[in-house]
């Protein structure tokens, strides 16, 4: 057990730090979004990713031959942590970088890799993940979007929901049914779909936070060239599962740094907000709750280092990623509730009022946290995975 960075890990970090210091946009600091509209903000993030790419830091974990940096898992963690420490803007093409790119690297043909990977890194092409459907969420394998092979093309018809970044995407990793007669896991195929193809319709879907971060996608006789099949035809479940494993393993990476920064900010506020004649930070009940949240954020960090150490010894991310996913998503909900208790009645005031704390960020985060235990697999599904695949209990369904 040695929690110090090795010389090469330290060198990696120092080089990255130096780069960040020279390149981080000064107009982002202290903000959560650039510009008034979602589109304006996205354009900003896209430009930022381009800069990160030019600096050679996009897709750190990807192999060098595909434009990545070939970083170890620990270095990837260093990357996310350093970016978070510096309060750098997020990267626009997050799904492409963390989920879809790695899936193409694992299952794609050489032509596909050449065609898609570098444009993911440079944010030239933005990706979305077309998995969930109105009648297939947790039970993803029961999806009914169909793709029929006709003269070298798959013709796609169907309806996807909750598609994050659908409105911004150029490409979509789509799971569709290619063999309706096979068992439900056996007849699926992953297609790489150009979002500008005729017959693709993107509709905004408003979330409980009021924004429309995600979309509904409709496919009407959309023609997808057969060479855009990722992996083998009817082997889509395997391919999609790889994406889901990456999702569970990486979505939480570095998140503890963001939580910790939010926590520190909350503590600062707790020292200035007065209740019953003294700062809330003196209230013994609040102190208990803050102490607990701090402990849990720290444990989230430690769990992550431990699981990354294990993965770097044993290979690919496994079902243990579900433990991480459960921990961070449920912790954030407890954290946001404690934040509301610290802030008191003004905690509910949203963006736009001068009475809002931090321009309404806390009111937003409180609502947004509810999505955490649903996206990337619900908490119930994560517990099923742990029960069955980790503890070896019989499948419940």
């Amino acid at each position: 057990m040695d929690l110090n960075y090795t010389d090469s890990e330290r060198a990696f970090r120092d080089e990255l730090r130096a780069w960040i210091e020279n390149n981080i946009p000064s107009d982002w600091q202290g903000r959560n979004s650039a510009g008034e509209s979602m589109e304006e903000n996205f354009a900003y993030l896209r430009a930022w990713q381009k800069r990160v790419h030019q600096g050679g830091w996009a897709g750190v974990s990807w192999p060098r031959e595909y434009g990545g940096r070939g970083a170890t898992l620990i270095e990837q963690v260093i990357f996310t942590e350093e970016m978070a420490h510096a309060a750098a803007p997020p990267l626009a093409n997050v799904l492409g970088l963390t989920l879809i790119g790695p899936t193409i690297i694992a299952h794609g043909t050489e032509e596909q890799k050449q065609r898609f990977l570098s444009r993911i890194l440079s944010a030239e092409e933005i990706w979305c993940q077309g998995f969930s459907e109105p009648n297939a969420g947790s039970d993803l394998a029961s999806l009914s979007t169909e793709a029929r092979l006709e003269e070298g093309h798959f013709v796609v018809n169907g309806h996807k929901v909750w598609t994050s970044f659908g409105w911004a995407a150029d490409w979509c990793e789509l799971v569709a049914r290619t063999d309706a007669s096979a068992a439900k896991h056996r007849g699926l195929t992953v297609l790489l779909v150009d979002m500008r193809s005729p017959g693709v319709e993107v509709r905004p879907l408003r979330q409980m936070t009021g924004e429309s971060e995600f979309n509904e996608l409709f496919f009407h006789d959309v023609r997808v060239p057969a060479e855009n099949v990722l992996g083998a035809v009817n082997d889509g479940w395997n391919v999609a599962l790889g994406t889901l494993m990456h999702e569970r393993a990486t979505l939480g990476a570095g998140l503890h740094v963001l939580y910790k920064r939010q926590f520190d900010r909350l503590v600062d506020l707790a020292q200035t907000i007065r209740r019953h004649g003294e700062p809330v930070s003196r209230d013994p009940v609040i102190r208990q709750k803050l102490g607990q949240i701090y402990a849990e954020i720290e444990i989230m960090r430690l769990n992550q280092i431990r699981s990354i150490s294990r993965v770097s010894q044993n290979g690919t991310p496994g079902p243990e990623g579900s433990l991480q996913k459960l921990f961070w998503s449920e912790l954030n909900q407890r954290f946001q509730q404690v934040a509301q208790e610290v802030l008191g009645p003004f905690g509910q005031v949203e963006k736009g009022s001068e009475f809002a704390f931090d321009d309404g960020q806390w009111a937003y985060s409180y609502l947004r946290a509810r999505g955490n235990t649903i996206e990337a697999g619900t908490s119930e599904v994560q517990r099923n995975i742990i029960g069955h695949f980790v503890l070896g209990l019989p499948r419940s369904y």
Partner: protein, 391 residues
Amino acid sequence: MQFGLTETQQMLKHEARRFFPSECPIAEVRRLMETDGAYDAALWRKLTEHGWTGILFDEASGGMGLGLVEMAVAAEEMGRALLPGPYFSTVFVAGALLNALPDGRGALKGICEGRSRATLALLEESACWETGDVGMSLRNGRLNGTKLLVPDAATADLILCVARSRTGQPTCQDRTGGQAELVIAQVCSGAPGVSIRRMPSIDRTRQLYSVTFDDVPAEVLARGDEAQAALDRAMDIATVALVAEMVGGMQRIMELSVEYAKTRKQFGKPIGQFQSVQHQCADMLLLTESSRSAAYYAAYALNEGTADARMAVSVAKAYASEAYREVGNRGIQVHGGMGFTWENDIHLYYRRAKASEIAFGDAAFHRERIARTVVDGRAAQEAAVGSSRSM
């Protein structure tokens, strides 16, 4: 960076996992917990022969001089086997304290060689884990007063007593503790004037006592800041050892419950197939693994003397205190009526969980300690240069 056990640590773990349940199987735990002191001379001899009594202490004192991560590895397996009796108070508490005192080394040899057992007498009526409340008085080299909730006092040869040294005639201000200097004094448990009475409590595998000192001669081992620093160090080490033990206990409850969920059938299927049971098991794993991360990090941080070491100890104890109890709650529930029987072993762990939750400060105590640093300390920290990077 590598957060996992080294090969030698793995070997130690395997050895400990084999040793404790085979030398002290649960039937033996049950037999011993019905005896006064839960102590067995033959078991103690084996613990000594295999070097367990000396794991923390350097070779000059007759020990093996292992690090604190190794200590955590061993303690985890002891907790999994529910090792009863005075080992913990002798080695991880009193031993750690003697080891932290320049004048304490002499007594360590007897501990390493299995000749003596020791305990720390800290709590009094206020039952506070900080020394501010200590009122027991040492005057002209003699102790007077009562210590409460002293673990394993009946089998200890040596009692390390935290007291306040006073000079001159007794006055009514004595009770406040106030100005008098903190001391750690060493007493032979057999000395005239020492009386030890059992305080029956939830965890019968480690028994608690009241110890009254009536004009008992004592040898002062440390005073003032030196005494406080040694106590702080010893309490940190003991707390980490305890949390590691708690992880072992959680692990065992989880193993028993998952096994039971796979074999017990109702409505024609294993109960582990019902999601409400399955999800209890998943939560047990989450609580256990999270406590394990915290325990090992705290051991590592203390061993390396990192700046956040004391915080790491509090984080671990705050979390594990509730986690062990929660794992126990779920374990009993998964076992149904069987889980409520004396015959089933889970209640033995559940009892240990309560005693461990209380020892060295419960979750609320450690959360307040965290708050003192991260809430009150934040203003000061802000002024300091740079952000608080984690490593």
